[in-house]
């Protein structure tokens, strides 16, 4: 029988997720360089801002690619898994962030979170959400 090629799906949204992790890594490297440069004084203020903006650009590109891949390359179940992962990430992140802010404000012990931690937390939560959704449908 003739078999047309279906959407590639070694794992649900794996390409999308890799793309985002790579973009996040670029952004974090930029963040690290800005902080190191500012601390050591070898990076002028204008260069810190420029580097900060440039290193965040891949995330904007990833967002556009994400939208295209989600709509065109994934079938309906894989779209659902990715969207459920995103929903899980948002639903869990918001109360956790609220709790963290309130505990920190009240002076209770909280782990010190750097900007990289704050950037990575939603990505990790989305990955957990996608893994849970993937398990549910298999």
């Amino acid at each position: 029988m003739p078999a047309t090629a279906g959407p590639k799906a070694s794992a649900p949204g794996a390409t999308l997720y890799r793309m985002y992790v790579l973009s996040l890594a670029t952004c974090l490297v930029g963040n690290l360089l800005v902080r190191l440069g500012a601390r050591a004084g070898w990076l002028p203020a204008w260069a810190q801002v420029t580097l900060g903006v440039i290193s965040a650009l891949p995330l904007a590109a990833a967002a556009i690619l994400f939208w295209r891949l989600l709509r065109r390359d994934l079938d309906e179940m894989l779209q659902r898994i990715v969207l459920e992962g995103l929903a899980f990430g948002l639903i869990v992140y918001v109360p956790l962030a609220g709790l963290y802010v309130n505990l920190r404000t009240s002076g209770a012990w909280t782990p010190r979170l750097d900007p990289p931690d704050i950037l990575l937390a939603p990505a990790v939560l989305v990955a957990i959400g996608m893994a849970l959704a993937w398990r549910r449908y298999q």
Binding site: M1, A3, T4, G6, D75, E76, L78, Y137, Q138
Partner: protein, 67 residues
């Protein structure tokens, strides 16, 4: 939702990958459909019905109903 997808596919000697190719979805989606873990959208259900030359009701059976 239960379905007769595995029987219909086997009758034609197709693999899950073959069926996935015909429907334009991933093999994982066909697997989830056959195991009743995922209910297809209406357009996909129609596509499946057309492919096997059956009605949707012939293929998909709500839980609790006999085939």
């Amino acid at each position: 939702m239960r379905n007769s997808l595995p029987l219909l596919r086997a009758a034609l000697g197709w693999s899950q990958a073959d069926l996935a190719g015909q429907l334009g979805v991933s093999r994982q989606t066909v697997n989830a459909l056959e195991r009743g873990k995922y209910d297809p959208s209406l357009p996909l259900a129609f596509k499946i019905a057309r492919l096997f030359d059956r009605t949707i009701e012939d293929i998909f059976h709500p839980d609790g109903e006999t085939a």
